[in-house]
């Protein structure tokens, strides 16, 4: 199965992929790309409209909105990718152990998962921030703590489904070590599922981290973050509604891009869906809502 050639024919998927990669590169190279320092205050430019040197205008302290948007990619997108990577890492490890070894280990891990999943995600995050205090690091910790269980559960199911297959049983019977079986025979087949759940949950995670910054619980001033920029714009919502546009559109574009990419990846990874893509493109195997 050739993912790349499948994906290449999906125009929306390709567009999303290009957007995502471009934004990530811009975020990493923010100091080179951003036209101004995002923290430079210039009160004489307060609430200025767009000009040649400030494409998107200036905010309530006369800072360059475009530069803040670019630096905002770091906490809004790159950080989310990191959180995703860590929580998937933990989730995958535990999911594999549970799904592959089953019995008591499985029962223990799944009960812990049950406990974690029985709290509503937002409430849990709020509680953790309440205990540890306000700040981006604590939001990151809270996110990882609340997200891993979901990944562990999904991956366990996926692993279980494959360990029942004949070729795995054969491998076991022929005395190959567990570690070797997991690495050679299970990881490659579950990888597809992993990619899909990862890419489809990222959209909701971007929204959540922006949501917490909007509430003032995430990143602290003066650092830029899209959700916080929205919150700053909220205060002048009726007098200068245009302030909401830049961060709002940025969030919409990124979340849509990740969601379309997730759909495209899913189709590309699953030939059955691909064949009937014309009729069932919107059917999703892993509808992820955390």
């Amino acid at each position: 199965m050739n993912i790349w050639s499948n994906l290449r024919h999906d125009r929306i998927g390709m567009l999303s992929l290009v957007t995502v990669i471009a934004v990530i590169v811009i975020g990493i190279c923010a100091p080179i790309i951003a036209p101004h320092d995002p923290l430079t205050v210039n009160m004489s430019l307060r609430y200025n409209g767009s000009t040649w040197s400030y494409w998107l205008g200036n905010d309530q302290l006369g800072r360059c909105i475009l530069s803040r948007l670019i630096y905002g990619i770091r906490p809004s997108i790159l950080l989310v990718l990191w959180i995703l990577l860590i929580s998937i890492g933990i989730g995958t490890a535990l999911g594999f152990i549970a799904g592959y070894f089953k019995s008591k280990v499985d029962a223990w891990i799944m009960r812990i998962c049950d406990i974690m999943l029985s709290f509503p995600g937002y409430v849990m995050t709020l509680a953790i921030v309440g205990i540890l205090g306000v700040g981006l690091e604590n939001i990151v910790i809270a996110f990882i703590l609340t997200k891993w269980a979901w990944f562990a559960r999904v991956i366990r199911t996926s692993v279980m489904q494959y360990t029942e297959l004949d070729y795995i049983r054969f491998a076991k019977a022929s005395g190959i070590s567990n570690w070797h079986i997991i690495r050679r025979h299970v990881v490659p087949v579950t990888f597809a599922d992993l990619t899909v759940i990862a890419s489809s949950s990222i959209g909701s995670m971007i929204l959540q981290i922006s949501g917490f910054s909007f509430l003032g619980l995430g990143i602290q001033a003066p650092h830029a973050e899209w959700g916080m920029m929205l919150n700053e714009a909220r205060e002048v919502m009726f007098t200068r509604p245009e302030m909401m546009l830049a961060p709002g559109i940025a969030i919409i574009i990124m979340v849509s891009a990740f969601n379309f990419l997730a759909d495209a990846l899913q189709v590309a990874l699953d030939p059955r869906l691909h064949q009937s893509a014309s009729t069932y493109t919107s059917s999703k195997k892993w509808q992820v809502r955390i």
Binding site: L39, V41, L61, A221, T239
Partner: protein
């Protein structure tokens, strides 16, 4: 055929549902707007909470219209309120109050000397809570002379006695029938005061209504009903004002204007609203915690440098839209006893940098941030996250400080959390405000020695013992001239030590319907005289 009929019926049904759902929603605002022209519905960020006037949880503007004190603090000095007149004994220790004879509590109980005694004694039995108000430590006894005469005996002469008796709390009077087991400190059974308005209904976190008191001794107020509606965010307040759901908004007791300055301009431009502004009432400032030994804020040079990087002109002009004047001293000149010559420290980053240089805070190559003996010049600044202007001010100051290598970390918190930090000393720097004309300077200065107020802020300076001794002297001195001299000493010490870094002079801004007349202000930022307002016919 059948299908199309079915379809059209369904559509018809859906439309009917939508239309019927719409109708009442359309009527409601009209109804509200009509009633709103006769009454006042004001927006408040926080619920009125526990209205017990002998505790501190309640909303002060609400308590101010329900309860009254013996005397009133006005621009012309202390005036009679529940006490018609009073005499002070020559030694300044005994105050005799002659009470009004026509006053009744809202529940019909008579207001007399016995009620005064019971209330004052109830307050005194909970004196720890009232330590910030020094009168509570001076009252020795409260005696009933006859039915309408009461005597207050102090341990020593205390000059702000009448001023402190005039405050919104705790020396105000609640019907003795509302006491729980003869006490008020563990809650009360009702909220019956003597004031112009009676608390009629309270839905926590939603609204509270106050009805005009028909038996008010000073005549029934013109406006029959006042409603306090809880609207936590400025944008909702703005929309509610536009729709007529509320028709009144004012600076709350934390000094935060939830509605943005420009949004108020829009409301005024619509012709439905007017803005009335009081003279400057208080000083908005940054309080430095001098007792934090581990933090750079402990050092006078650092605090003074911070003073120089606050660009008050820009804050006043651009952030506050010209509604607040820049402040260069803790108390503005119109405050009693505070018109004294103090060095004015205007915005001057270069001066700030040279101060830091000479104090040994040197810039590290490359990073541009300063440090001394390996300790970085970093401080935390806490602001009220509900205030629309504090965060912008904080960021402006932060960026100016960063330019000279001083790093400020900002944290936005709830106002209760800020108050908690102030009383536990868990802060480097925080936004605050002086307590208003009726309290300044004597009560704010008394607050320097109170743990709940500014004890942590002041106790780290070298002259602290002398400062506290002088403050004690002020409160017991009866000689006007000596007192003026002592005030000058105290204010000079805290000014030179840069403990309270002033920003702007705050005031009360009222946004009210344009046909509302008689909007005046008291000497305190915590109350509004609603009973004097009326709608133009």
């Amino acid at each position: 055929m059948f299908i199309t009929t079915f379809k059209s019926i369904t559509i018809l049904m859906v439309l009917t549902v939508i239309l019927t759902a719409c109708n009442p929603a359309k009527d409601q605002p009209n109804n509200q707007a009509e009633t709103a022209t006769k009454n006042i519905t004001y927006a408040t960020a926080k619920d009125i909470n526990d209205m017990n006037p002998h505790l501190y949880a309640g909303s002060m503007p609400a308590q101010g219209i329900v309860y009254e004190s013996l005397v009133e603090n006005t621009a012309e000095g202390i005036k009679p309120l529940l006490a018609e007149s009073w005499d002070v004994s020559p030694d300044g220790k005994t105050y005799t109050f002659h009470l009004r004879k026509d006053v009744k509590f809202h529940d019909g109980e008579p207001f007399n000397a016995e009620a005064v005694k019971q209330n004052i004694e109830a307050v005194q039995r909970n004196s720890e809570k009232h330590a910030w108000i020094k009168l509570s430590t001076k009252i020795k006894a409260c005696r009933v002379v006859d039915e309408y005469t009461v005597e207050l005996v102090l341990a020593e002469p205390y000059y702000p006695t009448l001023a402190e008796l005039s405050m919104t709390r705790p020396y105000v009077f609640i019907s003795p029938k509302d006491f729980k087991n003869g006490e008020t400190k563990d809650g009360v059974n009702g909220y019956h005061g003597t004031g112009p308005y009676v608390l009629a209904d309270h839905q926590p976190e939603q609204y509270a209504t106050f009805k005009a008191n028909p038996n008010y001794w000073n005549g029934t107020p013109t406006i029959p009903m006042i409603t306090a509606k809880v609207l936590p965010a400025g944008e909702t307040t703005y929309l509610a004002l536009q729709k007529g759901e509320v028709n009144f908004a004012f600076t709350d007791d934390r000094g935060a204007d939830s509605v943005d300055v420009e949004a108020v301009e829009q409301l005024i431009a619509s012709g439905k609203y007017q803005r009335v502004q009081s003279e400057s009432m208080n000083t908005k400032m940054i309080v430095a915690n001098t007792s934090r030994q581990a933090s750079p804020v402990h050092e006078q040079a650092v605090r003074e440098a911070l003073w120089y990087v606050v660009d008050r002109e820009t804050i006043s002009k651009d952030i506050m839209g010209g509604t607040e004047a820049p402040a260069y001293t803790l108390f503005s000149k119109n405050v009693n006893d505070a018109d004294i010559p103090l060095q004015e420290r205007a915005y001057d980053p270069q001066k700030a940098a040279s101060l830091l240089d000479s104090a040994g805070w040197v810039s590290t190559e490359g990073t541009g941030s300063r440090s001394k003996n390996g300790k970085p010049l970093t401080m935390k600044l806490d602001y009220d996250s509900n205030s629309s202007s504090q965060k912008i001010e904080a960021e402006l100051i932060q960026s100016a400080a960063a330019a000279i290598g001083m790093k400020l970390e900002l944290t936005g918190e709830e106002s209760t959390s800020i108050a908690n930090r102030r009383s536990t000393g868990e802060y480097d720097l925080l936004f605050n405000q002086t307590w208003g004309l009726a309290y300044d300077p004597q009560s704010t200065i008394a607050g320097f020695t109170s743990q709940n107020a500014y004890l942590y802020a002041t106790q780290g300076i070298p002259e602290a013992p002398k400062l506290y001794k002088t403050i004690d002297q002020i409160m017991t001195t009866t000689n006007e001239q000596t007192r003026q001299q002592l005030f000058t000493d105290v204010l000079t010490i805290v000014h030179d030590e840069a403990v309270f870094i002033p920003i702007t002079n705050g005031n009360i801004t009222v946004v009210a319907p344009s046909d509302l007349k008689g909007i005046t202000f008291k000497q305190t930022q915590y109350e509004l005289p609603f009973e004097q307002m009326s709608f133009e016919k």
